[in-house]
Amino acid sequence: MSELSLPPFLILSAFLLACGVFCLATKRNAIGLLMGVELILNAANVNLVAAARFVPSLKLEGQVFALLVVVLAAAEAAVALAIFLNFYNNHATIDVDEATDLRG
């Protein structure tokens, strides 16, 4: 099995990013938005790890950053889910278009 080169990883990453953005741009469900964000973050992770493998001057930096991103994503998801839960308690919905209380 021949060694893969960098471009397939970048294509995968771009595809994931496109999916994530599409998800964000079409969903009204707050959980769906959160999943779109996760997709975008993972697209970035694929990029980082692939770069660490194929760019000679990099050693562990790509993996370390990817780990940081995973931690960040977990924290972000926790906060966001807490917000959504509270939102659901107050409005009995998680449709983000209904979140207009702060509009002037």
């Binding site: 953005v21 964000l24 741009a25 079409t26 009204r28 983000v96």
Partner: protein, 715 residues
């Protein structure tokens, strides 16, 4: 402070500052009295003004005698040091000990020209101040106001198409105002100070400051009867037209300062001592000369900026005599005379031709004017044109001699006109006068002296100077035959001058009265007015005399001036001077013949028999419309300015808040800025939907767009 033995020139500083004393006193007393609630007109300040100017005249006389004594026996450098000083007024840049980056000095420098001019200005000024004591006597008490004019209109140039001058003293108005006797002398004193400062100033900057000061005094005095609409517009016109010239003066000063780093007149003149001026390109040399000359064009009412002077006759007559005939309008000629070496040959040619055009156009206009003061005003323009022409053709002495002699006889003519107007209770229309020599003999015969002098009758002062001007012009025309017109024009105009001056005299004083009622109420003026007339008449006859008096070249005043003649840069000037001397008798003879023709024709038309009604009809055509200068300016500049003002006024009136009330306001522009911000906010608000999807889409599209641009540029 005034160490006169080492620096006798300081007497001139003292004489210059003296008229400032009454001005300050009147101003201060007026303010104190106003605060104390006392509004009755005062008169004491006027007498103080007269006393101070008389003292100035005395000092000027002493100074002139001392100066002309010393200049003969002391070496030039010592005279220079004793009669001129300067110190730094403004230092720019550099600390206390360093050499400053730029310095604006003030100082004084007396030379032959300024010494003579100073004596002339203080002498004539004193006489006119005395005359004004009588002429302005109406202002000692409350003065009834004229009827209110119609609403706001445009331009001061239409004033002489309106029916006879509504004088502020004419009955029919409502209410009255306080007399302004002292205020008149406040302005006159301030003017005297400014004019004298202009004369002694040793640098262009100081000249410019005084130049503006005399301009503002002229503005105050033209608009002295500011209740009268035409007076207000005439004052504005004089001030604004002069700004055009001043812009040129500033450019000239800037060029001089940039090229030489100094504005001192003597230093600048020294740079141009040779025929090949150093440190300056030929183009800049021309710009420098034209700039300074443009300033003189404005102040001395030369074409194309001559239109303000006739309108300036709205001021009281002593003002016309002092400022708009004898002294201030001569400041332009004086400046050209003092800066003479700074003018390139091309510029001198321009000066000569501007003078030629001015003297001809003004003289022809004077032929048909019916207002006694306007005839004199155009005659002033014309004579100033003679002076400029003389300077332009290298006749420095001739031009400045004419400046001095003209000051005397023109002041005399104006004061006589003032006496007539005073005696006729403010009637100025020549067509309604006639026969006045029987009612006011002193005025009539002193005025005849003035008329003869300006016409160039032999042995009167005007003859000496005009003779010299014409011979200079003839010499120049013979040396440069393509410019021979510079001699023909003045010669022709000499005949016109004699004609219109005698027309004025015959119409006013000759024949039989044409308006019996006016004639019956006419009276000779009081002694305080007639004595200055007689003194001025004596000077108008004899001020230029020399020995032998029948030789125009032997004029003592001319010789004094001639010794101070600077180096000029005109075309073939040496040859022109020689030819002028050689053909002097020819020029003089032709001038005499021209004057005789003019006088004779005036006698035939107006003196021998009573003028026909046709001759007294309202004049029309090119001449009566002053060659359409005013109409062209109105169409090109005045009306356009007014249009712009209307436009911006309409913008301001578009006030959304108060439109319904029809309240004119100045808020339009401010409100439009606020409205723009509010509308813009409303438009941008639509973008902020609050929907995440839209934001993400916009973000994604923007990113794609930016990436696309990046790739496009990298390729």
């Amino acid at each position: 402070m005034f160490d006169l033995s080492a620096h006798p020139g300081r007497i001139y500083v003292l004489a210059t500052l003296l008229p400032l004393v009454p001005a300050a006193v009147i101003l201060l007393v007026g303010m104190v009295r106003h605060l104390a609630g006392r509004h009755a007109p005062t008169t004491a300040g006027a007498y103080l003004s007269v006393a101070c100017l008389l003292a100035s005249a005395g000092m000027a006389g002493w100074g002139a005698v001392t100066y002309f004594g010393e200049v003969e026996r002391l070496p030039a450098a010592e005279v220079e040091a004793r009669w001129g000083e300067r110190f730094d007024w403004i230092r720019i840049g550099g600390s206390v000990t360093d050499q400053p980056a730029a310095v604006l000095p003030v100082g004084y420098r007396i030379d032959r020209l300024s010494a003579l001019m100073f004596s002339m200005v203080t002498g004539i000024g004193s006489l006119i101040f005395l005359f004004a004591l009588g002429y302005m006597a109406d202002e000692k008490k409350s003065v009834p106001l004229p009827p209110q004019g119609e609403g706001l209109g445009v331009g001061g140039s239409h004033s002489d198409h309106s029916p006879p001058h509504p004088h502020p003293l004419s009955p029919g108005g409502e209410g009255s105002r306080r007399g302004r006797f002292d205020r008149f002398f406040l302005y006159l004193s301030l003017f005297a100070f400014s004019m004298l400062n202009l004369l002694v100033a040793d640098n262009l900057f100081q000249v410019f400051v005084s130049w503006e000061l005399v301009g503002v005094c002229s503005f105050f005095l033209i608009g002295f009867y500011y209740e009268r609409r035409s007076a207000g517009t005439a004052a504005n016109k004089a001030f604004i037209v002069n700004r055009v010239g001043d812009a040129g003066f500033l450019v000239g000063m800037a060029v001089a300062f940039a090229a030489f780093g100094t504005l001192n007149i003597a230093d600048l003149n020294a740079k141009f001592d040779t025929n090949h001026p150093q440190d300056i390109s030929h183009t800049l040399w021309i710009v420098l000369g034209l700039g300074i000359f443009l300033g003189a064009v404005g102040k001395s009412a030369q074409v194309p900026l001559q239109t303000w002077l006739p309108d300036a006759m709205e001021g009281p007559t002593p003002v016309s005599a002092l400022i708009h005939a004898a002294t201030m309008v001569a400041a332009g000629v004086y400046l050209v005379g003092r800066c003479y070496p700074m003018f390139a040959p091309e510029v001198l040619l321009v000066i000569a031709y501007i003078g030629l055009v001015t003297l001809f156009i003004s003289a022809t206009t004077a032929l048909v004017m019916t207002d006694i003061k306007r005839v004199l005003a155009y005659s002033t323009c014309s004579q100033l044109g003679y002076m400029m022409l003389a300077l332009g053709v290298g006749g420095w002495t001739a031009g400045l001699l004419h400046l001095l002699t003209h000051a005397f006889f023109k002041a005399l003519l104006f004061l006589c006109a003032g006496s007539v107007i005073h005696g006729l209770h403010h009637e100025q229309d020549l067509r309604r006068m006639g026969g006045l020599r029987r009612k006011m003999p002193i005025t009539a015969y002193t005025m005849l002296v003035g008329v003869l002098a300006i016409s160039g009758a032999p042995l009167l002062s005007g003859w000496y100077s005009k003779d010299q001007i014409l011979s200079s012009a003839l010499g120049f025309g013979m040396a440069n035959t393509e410019h021979f017109l510079l001699f023909v024009g003045p010669l022709l105009t000499a005949a016109l001058t004699a004609f219109y001056m005698f027309r004025l005299w015959f119409l006013a004083f000759g024949g039989e009265p044409r308006d019996r009622k006016l004639y019956d109420h006419a009276h000779e003026s009081p002694a305080v007015m007639t004595i200055p007339l007689m003194i001025l008449a004596v000077f108008s006859v004899g001020v230029a005399w020399g020995w032998p008096i029948w030789d125009a070249e032997a004029s003592a005043l001319g010789k004094l001036l001639h010794a101070g003649q600077p180096h000029g840069h005109g075309l073939k000037l040496d040859q022109a001077h020689k030819l002028a001397e050689a053909n002097h008798l020819l020029a003089g003879g032709l001038a005499l013949a021209a004057a005789a023709v003019g006088i004779g024709y005036a006698w035939v038309r107006y003196g021998k028999q009573a003028p026909t009604p046709a001759q007294l009809a309202e004049p029309t055509g090119l001449l009566a419309n002053r060659w359409y200068f005013d109409d062209v300016y109105d169409a090109a500049f005045v009306n356009r300015t007014v249009d712009a003002a209307h436009l911006s006024a309409n913008v301001d009136r578009a006030n959304p808040d108060r439109k319904a009330e029809g309240v004119p306001s100045l808020d339009g522009l401010m409100n439009s800025a606020a409205t723009l911000a509010a509308r813009g906010g409303d438009a941008l608000r639509a973008v902020q939907t609050g929907r995440i999807r839209v934001y993400v889409l916009a973000l994604a599209l923007t990113t794609i767009g930016l990436l696309g641009m990046l790739f496009a540029f990298i390729r």
